[in-house]
Amino acid sequence: MVILMGEEKEKKGFFRRLVEGLTKTRKSIASGISSIFSAFSKIDDEFYEELEETLIMADLGVNATMAIVENLKEKVKENKIKEPEQCRQLLMESIEEQMNVPADAYEFENRKSVVMVIGVNGVGKTTSIGKLAGQYKNMGKRVLVAAADTFRAAAIEQLTEWTNRAGVEIIAQSEGSDPAAVVYDAVNAAKSRKTDILLCDTAGRLHNKKNLMDELRKINKVVDREYPDCYRETLVVLDGTTGQNALAQAKQFGEVADITGIIITKLDGTAKGGIAVAIQKELGIPVKYIGVGEHIDDLQKFNPHEYVEALFSTDAAAEEA
């Protein structure tokens, strides 16, 4: 809860926190899925259809769902599986396979890096930056944050509050100033202060607005020009509640920036965040973090195995963790 923000939260194991954050997710998806596994006595068309429905209801989308089910069918044939119950492990494996995070996904943490955080309005960019800043600061990194959302009312005040919470510095100008100029200042400050990680907050923008996407391009150019040898990381933030439009978002942000990862937020709700699977499948962009609350600690590194595990685990398994 936000009210507890200032208080020390007990440190918990990664899996525990993940499971906690995903409890709702897991409960709804797992109960849906396990009911299918148990309600059917044999693997037939009806069974697969029901399975499709469940995945679609988790926002995986028609295409990803079809692909997953096809893949499952093949494996069932190959392995001569007869029991619906056995399908469960296979299904988890095939989803996990698609959610693979590359080995160098977090390389930017070890380099002098500039991290751009982009996305449509209200998805959780500023909050995620606050959380990331807190994490890197705790890792002993020199962190700097750039307030390049100069458009939305009070965006700078909001980010300033987060940098206070995280205990890091901020580079900001006034509302209405040129975001590229803010980034210019921030990049040069990062160079002269020997900052390890520069996090840039940007204004929320819908991906179908040409002029706003051009603005993003311009901001990126400033970084390229001013700090050519920095390590570039560009994270797109997607709201876990979003449906199929998240795919369009990821695609079109990908056209103006080299997206290196995705942050999926608000997975502490009842949304199943299945769009993550669809995106990974269609675009091959790895999910790197998930947001599971409004507290500064509520951002997790994405772990496909534990994610799928948490999605499908029964309550008993969750308690064990």
């Binding site: 309005n121 009312a153 909001q158 179908n208 439009n245 009842t270």
Partner: protein, 450 residues
């Protein structure tokens, strides 16, 4: 585009079946599978899709489609009609109490849905209707939420009330009502913190407000990009807070907005307004039929026509029509057309509303080049003398040279523009000939190619 692909798919389904001679019930089912996929891709809740498909299938099997010469179009027509029916038959707006009696409106919804912005937009809307709104800041959690509302209140020029972050929302609202009484504010709009529907403690906070204060309208604000979870969210907010209506935000994106249908279905509450941009005037009435077309991917042509009618002065339209017929269309008229397009939200907005444009394929169109072409045309015309503007034929090479220098463009640009202008004029004359006797609308796009 979604509509194209749906209608294409349906045509394929029926073409294959045609060859067999007669359409059967199972053929219609095959077609319905395509409709189902289209709706799911638009994020309509799976359960809602299922019920919907069942009722549409029933109607479609009942001869309509089987006997039709163009079964695919018939299916789309039925689907569209049924969808519109589900979306609600009429447009509903927030009804304010008469005179100086205070109407209370409470915003609620998930984090990031757009409540704060929408609260300010509504305040602006009611202010323009001669009301005196008060914006009340009850988001005591999100950093700078109060500042955001204060700034927006200033931008729309309405009164603002806050008590910092250490008072319970119920007490803030009580004090705000006192403030409203003392200052003659008659529409009290309460912005609340975003919250998860499953967060009992946070939901309790709003329940308390409703228990202790008479809230006339409890409005659920929902991001139009919401996926399958929309039903859970809407159902829970509705059962806990008895919402009175729904507002959809961010419809200026390219989402198909299937959540609208799901929410309407599970709550039965009307959708009141839609947010269509970041400007504080970007709030519009909700039209169920237009939403139905959008979900099916048919663009928002009706909204466009409506806007065009609003912006287009009848008198001017007649005069223009006369001029076109007599080939008197000149640069002043051209400039008028540019301005009326701009009032409609610019080319980008117009194109977004056209069928085939809104859904994803806009990314291939460099719309800013259209906008900048307009801007250039405007500068060129502004560099002409009054005489030249009224008499396009006057333009000889030396005049063109002067205009090019004056507007800071190449002579080639001027020539291109004039050529385009003449082409436009010619096409318009042709069109006006074709439209004789037919239904006339004031709205014309004078730009043949963009």
């Amino acid at each position: 585009m979604a509509f194209d692909s749906l209608s294409e798919k349906l045509q394929n389904v029926f073409r294959n079946l045609r060859n067999k001679g007669r359409l059967t019930e199972s053929d219609v089912k095959t077609a319905m599978r395509e409709v189902k996929m289209a709706l799911l891709e638009a994020d309509v809740s799976f359960k809602v899709v299922k019920t919907f498909i069942n009722s549409v299938t029933e109607r479609a099997v009942g001869q309509d489609v089987l006997n039709s010469l163009t079964p695919s179009q018939m299916v789309i027509k039925i689907v569209n009609e049924e969808l519109t029916k589900l979306m609600g038959d009429e447009t509903t707006e927030i009804v304010l109490k008469p005179g100086n009696e205070i109407t209370t409106i409470m915003m609620c919804g998930l984090q990031g849905a757009g409540k704060t912005t929408m609260a300010a937009k509504l305040a602006g809307k009611f202010k323009s209707k001669g009301r005196k709104p008060l914006l009340v800041a009850c988001d005591i959690y999100r950093p700078a939420a109060i500042d955001q509302l204060r700034i927006n209140a200033g931008k729309v020029g309405v009164d603002f009330f806050e008590m910092g972050t250490s008072h319970a929302p119920v007490n803030i609202v009580k004090a705000a009502l006192e403030h409203a009484k003392a200052n003659n504010e008659n529409v009290v709009i309460i912005d609340t913190a975003g919250r998860l529907h499953i967060d009992e403690q946070m939901m309790e906070e709003l329940i308390t407000v409703k228990e202790e204060i008479n809230i006339d309208h409890t409005v659920l604000t929902v991001d139009s990009m919401t996926g399958q979870d929309a039903v859970n969210v809407a159902e829970t907010f509705n059962s806990k807070l008895e919402i009175t209506g729904v507002i959809l935000t961010k419809l200026d994106g390219d989402t198909r907005g299937g959540a609208a249908l799901s929410i309407k279905q599970v709550t039965g509450k009307p959708i009141l307004y839609i947010g269509t941009g970041e400007k504080l005037t970007d709030v519009e009435q909700f039209y169920p039929d237009r939403m139905a077309s959008r979900i099916l991917g048919m663009g928002d042509i009706l909204s466009l026509i409506d806007k065009a009618e609003q912006e287009y002065d009848e008198q001017k339209a007649k005069e223009l029509e006369r001029k076109i017929k007599k080939s008197e269309f000149d640069f002043n008229d051209y400039l008028d057309q540019i301005n009326s397009m701009r009032n409609m939200g610019g080319i980008t907005k117009i194109l977004e509303m056209l069928p085939g444009m809104g859904m994803g394929n806009m990314k291939d169109v460099d719309m800013s080049s259209g906008e900048s072409a307009l801007k250039q045309a405007e500068t060129i015309i502004n560099s002409m003398t009054k005489k030249e503007r009224a008499n396009p034929d006057l333009l000889n090479p030396s005049r063109k040279n002067r205009i090019a220098r004056g507007s800071g463009v190449d002579i080639a640009d001027v020539n291109r523009f004039i050529k385009q202008f003449n082409e436009t004029k010619r096409v318009m004359k042709q069109m006006s000939g074709m439209m004789k006797g037919g239904k006339k609308r004031g709205f014309r796009l004078p730009f043949g190619k963009m």
